[in-house]
């Protein structure tokens, strides 16, 4: 089916809706970026409102976590490895990038494997990998922690901020302010966890969910599949991204997560503390936990003043409804994390819808 044919089908489905408008939330930051980059909103009829959810790990990491990382860097002689997105996110008073600029040993890496390799080759240095990301990335952290354990490394640690997606979706679906009629579910998180963990969305909340791939055709097709369910008054979890996502997911990777991590309550920017939505190392692997190895004092944090990232992450506000957007907050000088991350909703708006500003 060509993009034109899918759009025509979407248009005809919209005519059969018994609602004036429907809200479809895309949960994944990569989807947010693709929708903006390819102008997909403009291809859809005005009745369909695409809203962005909390699907960017950097964006949902609260300021206090960044402050704690910085406090560790300032108080201990360590080398920190981080994914690139993370280092520019402002904490209350500094950022990893600023710490690097004043001489702290902060290294940007593409893979956690580099951090492990560096620790092995430099036994005299303490190395921390900032483990951030959803279920897509957590199995990678599991593998390197197990390897560090097998190799009996004493100088390798992870600062774990991994989070898992399904509990955050439940919070959004329970929130009376957020009105969601359908969910575009993340492709690569689902490559690991499969479709089963989302069943509560259709069973309890009676909302359709479709796991989507990442090109325009995939995303539009998934939107079409959601609309078909809405028109037929059905709610089930379907997979559009069939070539990569199996119903059972990647069981090897999911087992890696279970072997090394257990869930804990976790703070999400904009959403608050969500029960059992974070991952922490199991007691067998606690010797690799940077939070235990490098204790710090209690910190008080402040979220950036007037920054509306919290509401943007819940889909309650569009980036251009934030006072700071495209004024004091830009990708070159970001104030909130949604502008920092290349997959943040504000960055997507700034880059692709800025014709208005």
């Amino acid at each position: 089916m060509s993009i034109k044919e899918i759009c025509l089908k979407i248009n005809s489905l919209v005519r059969d809706l018994d609602k004036k408008s429907i809200n479809i939330m895309e949960v994944c930051g990569t989807h947010t970026m693709e929708i903006a980059r390819n102008g997909l909103k403009q291809l859809l009829p005005p009745e369909i409102n695409l809203i962005s959810g909390p699907g960017c790990p950097v964006c949902v990491t609260p300021t206090i976590e960044i402050d704690r990382m910085i406090e560790i860097i300032r108080n201990y002689d360590i080398t920190v490895f981080s994914f690139g997105d993370m280092i520019r996110v402002p904490g209350s008073r500094s950022s990893l990038a600023y710490e690097k600029s004043i001489g702290k040993d902060v290294v940007i890496c593409y893979s956690p494997l580099y951090a492990l390799e560096f620790a092995e080759n430099n036994p005299d240095k303490n190395v921390i990998f900032i483990a951030i990301g959803f279920e897509t990335t957590a199995p990678l952290s599991s593998v390197i922690v197990k390897r560090a354990s097998d190799k009996k490394l004493k100088n390798f640690f992870i600062y774990c901020t991994h989070k898992i997606i399904p509990p955050a979706l439940e919070v959004l679906l329970k929130d009376k302010e957020v009105r969601i009629d359908g969910l575009l579910l993340p492709g690569h998180v689902s490559a690991i966890i499969g479709s089963t963990p989302y069943k509560f969305i259709s069973k309890v909340y009676k909302i359709p969910g479709v796991i989507s791939g990442f090109d325009s055709e995939d995303i539009l097709k998934a939107i079409k599949m959601i609309l078909i369910q809405i028109v037929r008054k059905k709610s089930k979890i379907e997979i559009e991204y069939k070539s990569v996502v199996k119903e059972e997911g990647n069981t090897v990777a999911a087992n890696q997560i279970r072997e090394v991590f257990e869930t804990e309550d976790s703070m999400w920017r904009g959403l608050g503390i969500i029960p059992k939505s974070g991952l922490k190392l199991k007691p067998d692997f606690s010797e690799f936990d940077a939070k235990l190895k490098f204790p710090i004092r209690e910190l008080s944090s402040r979220e950036p003043k007037e920054c509306d990232c919290g509401n943007v992450l819940k889909g309650l506000k569009k980036p251009d409804e934030c006072k700071l957007f495209a004024k004091s907050c830009t990708p070159d000088n970001p104030i909130g994390p949604c502008m920092v991350s290349s997959e943040g909703t504000c960055a997507a708006y700034y880059k692709f819808y800025r014709i208005k500003y």
């Binding site: 930051g29 950097v58 897509t136 593998v143 690569h188 490559a191 990442f214 990569v244 990777a253 991350s341």
Partner: protein, 72 residues
């Protein structure tokens, strides 16, 4: 962040595979996809293959990646 790209497996040595994507050859870890064989297409995320995909889909997605890289 959950960005991942398709690549073809061209060599395997224990848990390390040599992969090719858009003409670039790189080594990735295949611990998470122990069933990967030479000739398979895999999805690569941060130095690890995280899932095996079918060849037809890989070439479609790869087309999209080429487009993306040309724009950058």
């Amino acid at each position: 962040m959950c960005l991942a790209i398709p690549a073809k497996v061209i060599k395997i040595n224990k848990n390390i595979a040599e992969i090719e994507s858009l003409g670039v050859i790189k080594e990735v870890d295949i611990t998470l996809v122990p069933d990967a064989r030479i000739g398979d297409y895999v999805i690569v995320h941060a130095g690890f293959a995280i899932q095996i995909i079918d060849k037809k889909e890989a070439s479609i997605t790869e087309g999209y990646w080429k487009e993306y890289l040309e724009e950058q």
